[in-house]
């Protein structure tokens, strides 16, 4: 019985998120994202029917699907699953066709300009930091503590305690089985 392989995942608690955009900017600084692009952004949701309307913010970035439409769509297998369950792009194989950008049902990818390399820009879950035992840039900077990253295969990890709090997949109807979950906003 060897040690079980890690499956990195992330949970965003929408009840804690205040929509300050700090995660978005920390990600740009950490990953040297091209000018004008964001790997993670804040979207604003409006729900309910007047007068019972409410509004909440949500961190929106790659969900690292286990059944990813972008990986299926990529003609050269440049988009691939890493051994820790995340989705990444191999620059040496990418032709910059933009098919993955269109195939992503969450619309989290965007194409870089040609002079910026022309790769699809997307969240890597800061694997380079996770390997060193550090937390992703977005999590370290979150003022509300709304983000948690960890090993989903480790039953004792903090992230699995968050899962027990009622984390759900985004758009479960798409059957993409993301590694990134949300704890839905409750009024």
């Amino acid at each position: 019985m060897g040690e079980k392989k890690k499956r990195w995942g992330k949970i965003v608690d929408l009840n804690k998120c205040v929509g300050c955009h700090a995660c978005s900017i920390a990600c740009v600084a950490e990953n040297k994202v091209a000018n004008g692009k964001h790997r993670t952004k804040i979207i604003e949701n409006e729900e309910g029917i007047f007068p019972n309307v409410y509004r909440y913010t949500e961190k929106w970035s790659c969900n690292h699907c286990q059944n990813a439409p972008c990986v299926d769509a990529c003609p050269t297998k440049a988009s691939h699953y890493t051994e820790w369950g995340t989705v990444e792009v191999k620059p040496e194989l990418c032709i910059g066709c933009g098919y993955c950008v269109l195939a992503c049902p969450y619309r989290v990818r965007m194409m870089n300009e040609r002079h910026d390399g022309g790769l699809p820009e997307k969240c890597t879950l800061c694997l380079h930091r996770l390997e060193k035992g550090l937390k992703p840039a977005c999590e370290t900077t979150c003022i509300a503590g709304a983000i948690i990253t960890g090993d989903l295969n480790d039953p004792n990890s903090e992230i699995n305690q968050w899962v027990a709090k009622g984390a759900v997949e985004r758009r479960p109807d798409l059957a993409t089985h993301p590694n990134v979950f949300i704890i839905p906003f409750r009024r």
Binding site: P69, P75, T76, E92, G96, C97, G98, L102, L174
Partner: protein, 316 residues
């Protein structure tokens, strides 16, 4: 709330259009060859024209890539779950086979290899005709594109635009031969039976094919509109080019100028009630309108399909 970012631009529309032209021409060339159509001219003009539009389209496709220097990777690395990967394979093989077939027709080669090549030309022509629509329809999260009828619409539109390219190609060559070529080279170099120019009957045949396809296209478009409306995402999909977004280009460019006007012209021509002078104008204008409408159809669907993305993010 969010700006529109078009991942794919007009170059993709040009590519889809030119791939359709090649597909239509290849299918017409191989079918007339397989059934031994008595008139050589349709066969020849379509076989000569088939390889070239898709080559222009491939140039556009490479120009659209964000990492164009890596384009050859798509020809070495294949992903069986990716529609584009299959398409890259067909687009690699089709121009080669089509050029070989063009040479065979030109040199009147009639050996065993001709039979194999003509069937390959037919299969690959069908493949790239279907691939053009399938590339869009395979994106299953897109309410505009993920519709099987888009594949059918692009395919039959490819056939009719291909037929129009053949009409225009034959007529252009005719004009060129009569007005320029015959004046500068000796008459005996151009025997009448080797001429590529269409006679009236060939044009009538192609125009009647076009008229039938336009009627089918109109039925398919109305079915697409109904199938959009029946889905939960109907409002978004219709808003892309039926009721909003590119609706002016669609209703005036595609429907009126690209389908209904050429249908009326084709029926006028086929009824034999117009003078010869008007008939000759019609046989110029009708194919031009269909080609124009065929390009706008792809343009509207490529751009309209991308209008839905900023809405989709919030559609949960």
């Amino acid at each position: 709330m969010m700006e529109h970012v078009f991942t794919w631009n007009y170059l993709i529309a040009i590519y889809l259009f030119t791939a359709g032209l090649s597909s239509g021409a290849a299918i017409i060339a191989s079918i007339t060859d397989i059934i031994n159509h008595t008139d050589e001219r349709i066969k020849r003009v379509s076989a000569y024209l088939a390889p070239f539009p898709v080559m222009l389209g491939l140039a556009c496709l490479v120009a659209d890539l964000h990492r164009p220097l890596n384009f050859f990777k798509v020809l070495i690395h294949y992903n069986p779950t990716s529609v584009m990967s299959w398409g890259a394979f067909f687009l690699l093989v089709f121009p080669i086979i089509a050029v070989v077939y063009t040479a065979m027709v030109y040199f009147n080669y009639d050996g065993a290899l001709r039979k194999i090549t003509v069937w390959l030309e037919l299969v690959l022509g069908l493949a790239i005709g279907i691939y053009a629509g399938l590339l869009l329809a395979a994106i299953y999260n897109n309410p505009v594109w993920s519709n099987p009828l888009i594949v059918f619409l692009f395919f039959i539109s490819a056939f009719s635009t291909g037929a129009c390219m053949i009409i225009l190609g034959g007529k252009l060559w005719d004009t060129f031969e009569e007005n320029i070529l015959r004046k500068i080279i000796p008459q005996e170099w151009l025997p009448a039976e080797k001429s590529l120019a269409f006679d009236h009957e060939n044009i009538r045949l192609l125009i009647s094919i076009d008229a039938v396809i336009i009627i089918i296209e109109l039925m398919v478009i109305s079915t697409i509109i109904i199938s959009y409306a029946l889905r939960p995402t109907g409002e978004i999909a219709l808003g892309a080019f039926i009721t909003g977004g590119y609706y002016l280009t669609f209703w005036f460019g595609v429907m009126l100028l690209g389908l209904i006007a050429p249908l009326i012209l084709a029926l006028m021509e086929l009824q034999n009630k117009v003078d010869d002078s008007i008939s000759s104008i019609i046989s110029w204008v009708e194919p031009v309108l269909i080609l124009f409408g065929g390009f706008l159809l792809r343009y509207v669907i490529v751009y309209g399909g991308q209008l839905v993305y900023p809405i989709l993010t919030f559609y949960k």
